[in-house]
Symmetry: D3
Subunit: 271 residues, 6 copies
């Protein structure tokens, strides 16, 4: 391949067939000569500048191969909601261990790890958190995300492999509930946060909250300010959909008590 | 009464004949089918959507009656400056106890309590405070406001009755002194902060500082960011009235040393 | 009176007929030429070195007179448990205001204020507190003790009148419950803590927890270590009365959840 | 079975054939009518008051059965050092998930979870930690222990199932290295800490460091002081084995830099 | 001289011939009837409203004379980069001691001290600092700036002489490196920060970071918010000069690891 | 020289003719084959195991020579009280810079630096400090000690040269004042603290308070607990000399207000 001016030679995007993966596929082409897309299937045809490699995160040998020649990873693969234990175990625990083993062996310098607000979902909605607040997972899914945050911390301390863990809020085209207004992450801001995470010269092991510039917030990104992330969108754009209201949820509706909202009572799902 | 679309059925505004009460009376009609206005007198005629109930805060039986049928309270009644002990005792201590007793018995869900920056006025002007900073009342009035904050905390812990305590700064049409520039709360922002306090689904027991988006500030509202309060006005609008100046007050002028300004030396007034 | 070598000329002990007052009366004679004892009654005959002055804390004029000629105060008067609002109001709010007014006018240098663990009783039993932890009163009695702590803070900031607030635990001859084992303050240690509070050259406004050297503790006195208080007794002396036990109180027994124990549900008592 | 006076009816001790398990088997008989011992094998004959149930932690159905009729658990089973990933995964991740699922279904009230100092081993030896310090696992084993701490936190938040996580130091008959002197936990103190963990009326989710009263310490148990744990032994008993020495390990010997000592470079072991 | 309306009678600007001194000379004339300019030489002709006094900071007698009649000082004199020890000693240690001695004797009320980010340059680039973060000088120059901060603190505690210490970032017309983008202080913002430092009625001893409103920041000025400093410029104006880039500096390039950048390895220079 | 079993080959003790230097000379012989003693004079004859090298700290060349062949340093040389600026400058600023330059060049691994409580003497006597509390020097002497602490921090960050800074209290045979009771450091404990500082395998840059186990304390050594220092003496041994007393110093006696005691008003002494 001819020499290009793009900043990376090869970025790996896992979970490329998922909701956010499809959004990112459209927008990250300028960052690398080659974007290697991976998922279990459903990726269609490779376009110019793309490579497609199907791979199961829990398949260790396949993962070792998937990471070869990769400079940086956007890890959006795996389970992204509260489901049964076994898929969480295979994708988010075994899979993340396989990813870091393979990345370290392949000499990858940096990983952006799609963590989740469900790593801290059992904090009350009246609490203000930052990167040092204790984790409070709200399900087996949330526990698996803490596992990933901690495993990546270990690879940083042990090998100097850098990771930005992004505790993603509600990243969909528009908020559906009051809670979504608080945790909303516009796709534009997601892409900007990934850009900052990839191009800041030094990130070490950083925890950041994936949220837009919403009026209400439970989270404080000041300890990630070395990333230079400045959200430009806001759930205020959707404020008209949520007029003032005193019909509070019932007092025993856990979704209004805890940051994790309905996840609080979804799990654990054992099989 | 026919069914309306307003968010509350009945809000009680105490101190409705006072300075801020009169401002609020003009602006909160959209929030409730009925706004019950209360004070010792001076409320004129009830307009559509209003009820007028005269009531002395220190009259327990009258207070029990005043709270009947009320969904939420904006408590602006009582003494709002450093005066003699007895009126403070009757209105701000006995009166606030009567209010919470009556509200709890009437099943009120939420109270917005007009606290004051004089609850923390004995902090130096070079100190930056947030909701967890220790209180430092600057007079008997300030002590009475701490009493109200603590009593409301007890009703939250004991009964789940929610309160937002707003430590109001200088809320008048325009700043008169340098200190007012720092503590200024524009009426528009006061109303917005009340709106946030009433319509955030969950507030528990929240301490917020009532201030606009002023350039200089001694206070940090980050721990109340679940309210989603975003001030839109600023004392910068009045900056031209306060040109640069090196004629400092005398070094022993306590008003420049402490956040409470001249209140620092006003009290105590015993009778 | 002939010149003596005792460190104070006159100490006032309020609440001298109460449970702790009677204990103290026996033990503090060496600290002052004269110990002025005060209560509503029941003090018997004055012994050598004692003066008896009956006085109602809510009687302002009587209080002004009571404080005349006093160097330091041990304030154990007033209501010491959750009772109806009116006696709390009269003794612990009006009475404490009267005390500080009179003390300031009489030139008293220092007051030891018997506060209570019920100022922080709504903290969970799994939480470790120090002097800067936010107060969480567990009843109207607890709220009144916070009032006293805050009023005394104001007199310190305003007039330089020093106070040590002692949040007394369970100070009786022996523990009756598991909770008492945690909060136990042996009379010997109470006296030692008062001695430290009176004779440390500088105390400013200090918050201290009144507890012995118990094995389990919810409280940390490190921020009061300028007092030099070293407890010498411990509830371990009574450990044999509380054998290991798995018959936990029922899960919904609030007394095991909160530091305030059974007080949590005693109040409020309105009349 | 006849009624006894022992505090628990049935305690489960997992890992009963392991190093600490064998120690505990000798010492905990007084706490329960029945001690159910479990391991993969090697438990010999059941003695009076014992039940033996062989069980693989990764066998979900067997675990559901193991927990039936159990009041409290001392979980010492699983992998206790840095080994290959697969046994860690099966015993410390799948196994711990199986334990909590089964315990919750069986109505167990409390678990004492043998966590490890390797959950925080990548902190420097010059850092002082408490229960709120961020975890810094020093291997896959350490990551698995953080997984257990977080899963147990979730079961507490979700179901009110209490856990004390004990980050055990070096618990062997005597220290072998300078580092062991710092992290030493005498068997007597281990048993005492378990006793406190089982019999404190309320523990919620507590993190405690398992160490004796050693002269040098990197850890602070003040936030677990509601347990009332008072160590009575100390590595000072072995001080004569470690005379003063300036033959420092080489500067690049990671064992002197990090609290985890030689574990720092042991892992990861992938297969 | 006829009475003017300017806020100060006489301000002293030291280091007036240096890089920032020349910028300031052009912009601060409105603040004082007389600006006394000082340096070792190179100041040209005095313009209206200016006085020129050549003076070596290490010359104690000359300094005593230099401060006579001065109301406030902008101290930009001395060494402003890592050079040999002797000039640092003479200008930044002896010189600063001479300045404070002379200022105190002359009755100066306030000094703005040009400190440097090199007082904290050995903090990692992934760390977020505020005014209370421990200093970590990155050279002898940085140590000398901490000396100045501490000496000025002493003069505040001892004599009530106020100082604002500004830890200036990169204050040049435009950023040259990625690091400059983070630490950039536009001249407009420098002047605004000086204005705030001079005209805030009360500053005590304040530590502020001299930076514009840059996207990426390592520093937090919230504890200096009593100054009312609101930057209006940003290194974003130069963002186009620094396109996204994955050619990280080599891992062992200390300039990307520490906030002090290349200074980290420049010193110490002994002669 | 024949091989010995002493832990160090050569320790340098500066200030060996001073008050503490003479005490240490008697007690540290067991730690090194050779103790090199240094001062300006007055050291008498060298005893077995001693070397005497007279040296002025401000003489750079002499210092380079003094450090040759040294493994570790106990730096007790220089000015140890508030005196005129010039001796402080020469001994405690120039001298300490010379010491660190020479030590780094000579390959010294560790220095114990005799800092002083006067580095924090302007903290009130009612404040509890630890190693991270901001410094508040109470004179030019205190400022010079902060200089040494910061210079040594730089040599640690820059070169990995370890230092323990000991903020020594009152280290004389017996306390003379109430304040001495609080800051007392018995010679036995001084020696023990030096022993810990020299033989702990890793100290990095540690700040420790040099105090015995006194009843009253303003300082907390928990962040230095990796040193394993356990004081065995206490000013309680002298408690009988300081009976209870209410003859407080006058309110304006600064010695009772600030931890630095009479130093507060001694300086600055300019010549």
């Amino acid at each position: 391949m001819a020499q290009s001016n793009k900043p990376f030679r090869r970025i790996l995007l896992t979970g490329a067939a998922g909701g956010l993966g499809r959004v990112l596929r459209e927008r990250i082409g300028a960052w690398a000569d080659v974007v290697r897309l991976s998922d279990l299937g459903g990726l269609g045809e490779a376009r110019p500048g793309e490579e497609i490699v199907y791979c199961d995160l829990s398949d260790r040998q396949a993962m070792l191969k998937l990471l070869e020649g990769v400079d940086a990873v956007l890890h959006f693969g795996g389970v992204s909601t509260e489901v049964a234990w076994d898929p969480i175990l295979q994708a988010n625990i075994v899979g993340v261990k396989n990813l870091y083993e393979a990345a370290q062996k392949a000499g990858v310098k940096r990983i952006v790890f799609a963590s989740s607000n469900h790593a801290i979902g059992f904090h009350p909605t009246t609490t203000h958190l930052d990167a040092d607040s204790p984790t409070r997972p709200d399900g087996l899914y949330g526990v698996s995300k803490v596992f990933g945050e901690q495993l990546s911390r270990y690879y940083w301390d042990r090998f100097g492999l850098e990771t930005v863990c992004i505790r993603i809020g509600f990243s969909f085209p528009e908020p559906k509930t009051y809670r979504n207004m608080v945790t909303f992450l516009h796709y534009d801001d997601l892409v900007e946060l990934l850009r900052c995470s990839l191009f800041t010269p030094r990130v070490g092991h950083t925890i950041a909250y994936g949220m837009s510039d919403n009026s209400t917030s439970w989270w404080d990104n000041s300890k990630a300010s070395h990333l230079g992330y400045q959200p430009r969108r806001s759930s205020r754009e959707f404020a008209h959909l949520f007029p003032d209201n005193a019909d509070y949820p019932a007092e025993d509706d856990l979704a209004r008590l805890y940051q994790g909202g309905p996840f609080i009572t979804t799990g654990p799902i054992y099989d």
